[in-house]
Amino acid sequence: MNFDIALMLAQDGIVNGAIYALLALSTVLVFQITRVIFIPSGTFVAFAALTLAALQAGKCPATVWLLVGGGLAVAALDIHQRQWRTRGDVGAILLWNVGYPLALAALLQVVKADDWPVLAQGALCCLILVPLGPVMYRLVYAPVAAASVLVLLIVSIAVDVALVSFGLLVFGSDGMRAPSMIDTDFALGPLTITGQSLVILGTSAALIAGLYVFFEHTLEGKALRATAVNRVGARLMGIATGKSGKRAFALAVFIAVCAGLLAAPTTTIYYDTGFLIGLRGLVGAIFGGLASYPLAALGAILLGLIESVSAFEASSFKEVIVFSLLIPVLLARTLLTDDPGHEEE
């Protein structure tokens, strides 16, 4: 491996790592606020890319039907379980959970988005997919919000199995790759820097900065953090922790969708590619102990670098190397934990 190749691998690694970092952040975010290990984050990456592909092909993406179905279920549950006091509440429940998805679905039937600018297509993807976060929280996690981390993890896996199978059902087993968002490439020394990689790095950095501002400087962000620190205490301060869960999921899915839209032009994405991408984010998050945002991001970028080197040196064992890495990371955490057992919740 000479210097030029090393630079190229580093560029690749950092660009991929930036995507993993986004997923690592969404994993830490959800875990901190709800104690859920958000395995389906990767599947939303795939859904975002495949939804974008459907839009670009001038088709109505089938994910909108997932939103329609999920919204109906939420409305039915909310009304059945009396999550309302006035008629106005019922109206709001119906409007957001039934009206909005149906309106969106109807819109997608008439409008062909294939000649829209890519930014508008991306926004449309967000409109379809982001509400699935709160819907999923309400249907799947809220009923077991008090369960152990272990049960929540098994639930996450089960949801992911269902979502991936849905992906195969509606998108089929063909992969897709979106065209680059920006076609300009330019040379920097021996490197060819693609516009897309700059878009990825820029967007990731902007999202990370945005998250920082949100959590440090807005009331809503602080409320979410309070929920993460102490659920009961937050509730006593008048923070609706159920709402925090929904917000956390909306935010996490939004980040995952951004990651998916960014990754779509760089690699071929299949209905089940997301799981392995999400798992890389998770490895990064574990690097940060599922608690530290900067460490999680750092871990994810390191992972990207290691991956790009191993792809070059031993391409068929890329996944083996990347995922085996978790064991030494955990081992290091174990050896650094001197107070055994007291990490229990």
Binding site: I37, L150, I157, A158, V320, F323, P340
Partner: protein, 587 residues
């Protein structure tokens, strides 16, 4: 209602005759159910019993399967030899993963197994020596003497004999000292550690047993198919095993067989029916599978078996062998020197000092009350002595030996036994089993002897002792009830029996009278007095003044983390600082 033993006989009989009455296709299905049962049984022991989980069962099965596939085809080794090699190899890998994660919170183990299962799958798929994604064939049949088990129905008996053997070993194990230690993990490690259980070791054992069962299942699979490829050992199948355990009932060994059976048959049916509904194969099955699992976890977390057990299986009271020998008791120590000496102990949580420069001592045959308003630091002090919190300064000396800095199991081993402020029992275990957990340190028999039921004499000794303590605290009538079915007051008393079963020199009681009725309080008071007369030292944290004043020899009063008074109940009642702390100052 059926007697459990009859249920077992019926099960064995049905398994025995099934190949004679069923079609070859059905026998094949039963073979798969048997293989899945083995891997799932491991998960039951790990998840339902030990409170941990793993998505790596299929990957461990893969280690067993690939070990035998490679060694029997490339080197011509006997399958029986490769069974052992594969098993040892699996246990070695399991030990590394276990060691890397077991000290961390409970969710790191499953996460590690996910990543590891994925990486192993790619490893199998890319190593050309192991046949890559196409797999490797030509495995020899398993032979017993001169009989080659190459027919499906012959192999059926090998599989199900293994399953029944594994069920037998597991149920023996659960009904024993190491088994109780494993079951105690689920109640939180605090309890297990206070009873002297080495929780890391128990976790590792549970994980290794699970891995071992999976490995055996993989070996069987390889020689049944005479062919291996990566697919049956991927993460997806690992998830499926967990689903079987959860659906069948992760808390009980029969849940493994039930779950494996139901899921396998259900999949058969779904594969027949679903394609007609959607016209495309495979994907609807996954959706159904995921959604059912979510619903089960939301609505019926204990799975199917407990539901069947309630309706169909008669719970049998555990017989106590009155002729069993008595356990050895601890050597009693010199009366005059203080048994426990706490000297200048402090505890800081970040900037907050919860306990400052506290000193107290307790002698044999003495009851010391620790009083104080809410938030005075009593429970912190209590946990510092018991070792569940580390101290920031000062010394704790017990029986002439420094014990500050020791972990709870080591402190328990030296003769300090405790109860918890918020009752910490294992509600799904009987009163007898809960108290028997307290005897953990009074015997040493381990997993192997217990699984083979070769420790019965010693086990009976523990049971007899547990029964004696239960009778002593007045819960004899409830000995076979589930601990969770008792009233709160009875549960507190049960915790005392559990603590006593450890044969302590010092008993630490955290608010034992809370939630007790008057009669129960009187009985408790009598019990503690009789324990005192036997020479036991007792430290009591309590709010109930009447109860304390009539019982204790001396009192130590804490306020804002510091000792404000010490003396006999009469002296303390007159102490102005105490009155001020409780009632506020007059000015």
């Amino acid at each position: 209602m059926i007697h459990p033993r009859i249920l077992v006989l019926v099960f064995v009989a049905v398994v025995g005759v099934a190949p004679f009455v069923l079609s070859p296709f059905s026998v094949t299905i039963l073979n798969y159910i048997g293989l899945y049962s083995l891997a799932t049984l491991g998960l039951v022991l790990l998840t339902g019993v030990g409170g941990l989980t793993s998505f790596g069962q299929a990957a461990f099965a893969g280690l067993g399967a690939y070990s035998t596939a490679w060694l029997t085809t490339a080197y011509g080794l006997s399958p029986w030899l490769t069974l052992v090699i594969g098993l040892l190899f699996t246990l070695g890998v399991g030990a590394i993963i276990g060691f890397a994660t077991l000290k961390l919170s409970g969710h790191y183990l499953p996460l590690a197994t996910i990543a590891w299962a994925v990486s192993l799958y790619f490893m199998f798929g890319n190593l050309q020596t192991l046949g890559g994604h196409t797999g490797m064939g030509g495995l020899p049949p398993v032979t017993i003497g001169t009989l080659a088990l190459s027919e499906n129905s012959a192999f059926y008996y090998l599989i199900w004999a293994t399953v029944i053997g594994a069920l037998w070993l597991s149920s023996n194990l659960l009904d024993s000292r190491p088994g109780r230690a494993m079951r105690a993990l689920k109640g939180g490690i605090d309890v297990a550690e206070a009873m002297g259980v080495n929780t890391q070791r128990s976790k590792l054992i549970a994980f290794l047993i699970a891995a071992g069962l999976a490995s055996v299942s993989g070996w069987l699979y390889a020689h049944m198919q005479r062919f291996v490829n990566p697919t049956p050992f991927g993460l997806q199948i690992g998830i499926e095993y967990l689903f079987m355990a959860v659906l069948g009932g992760a808390g009980h060994i029969w849940g493994a067989v039930l779950g494996a059976g139901v899921v396998t048959l259900l999949k058969q049916k779904l594969q027949d029916v679903l394609p007609h509904l959607a016209g495309s194969q495979g994907n609807l099955e996954g959706i159904a599978f995921g959604l059912i699992m979510v619903l089960v976890l939301q609505r019926a977390k204990d799975g199917l078996w407990p539901w069947i057990a309630r309706v169909a299986v008669k719970r049998q009271p555990r017989a106590i062998d009155a002729t069993a020998a008595d356990l050895l008791t601890r050597e009693k120590v010199d009366t005059r020197a203080p048994l426990l000496q706490v000297d200048g102990v402090s505890k800081r949580f970040g900037g907050l000092t919860a306990v400052r420069d506290m000193s107290l001592d307790i002698s044999r045959g003495e009851i010391l009350g620790l009083l104080g308003p809410n938030g005075a630091g009593k429970s912190t002090m209590f946990n510092l002595i018991a070792g569940s919190l580390g101290i920031s300064g000062g010394t704790v000396t017990f029986n002439g030996e420094r014990i500050d800095g020791l972990r709870p199991p080591a402190i328990a081993r030296r003769g300090i036994s405790r109860t918890f402020q918020h009752v910490r029992l294992l509600p799904d275990m009987t009163v007898l089993d809960n108290v028997a957990l307290g005897t953990h340190l009074r015997a040493s028999h381990g997993v192997l002897l217990s699984a083979l039921r070769a420790e019965r004499k010693r086990e009976e000794m523990l049971m007899k002792e547990a029964a004696r303590q239960i009778a002593r605290v007045g819960l004899g009538a409830h000995i076979n009830d589930l601990a969770g079915s008792l009233s709160l007051g009875q549960q507190r008393i049960l915790e005392i029996a559990r603590a006593l079963a450890a044969d302590p020199l010092l008993l630490l009681l955290d608010e034992p009278a809370a939630g007790l009725r008057l009669k129960e309080k009187e009985a408790l008071s009598d019990l503690l007095k009789s324990l005192r007369s036997e020479g036991l030292a007792i430290l009591l944290v309590e709010h109930d003044m009447d109860f304390v004043m009539n019982l204790v020899d001396r009192l130590v009063v804490m306020s804002f983390g510091e000792k404000i008074a010490e003396g006999t109940p009469a002296e303390v009642q007159q102490n102005e600082r105490v009155i001020e702390a409780y009632l506020g100052s007059v000015a």
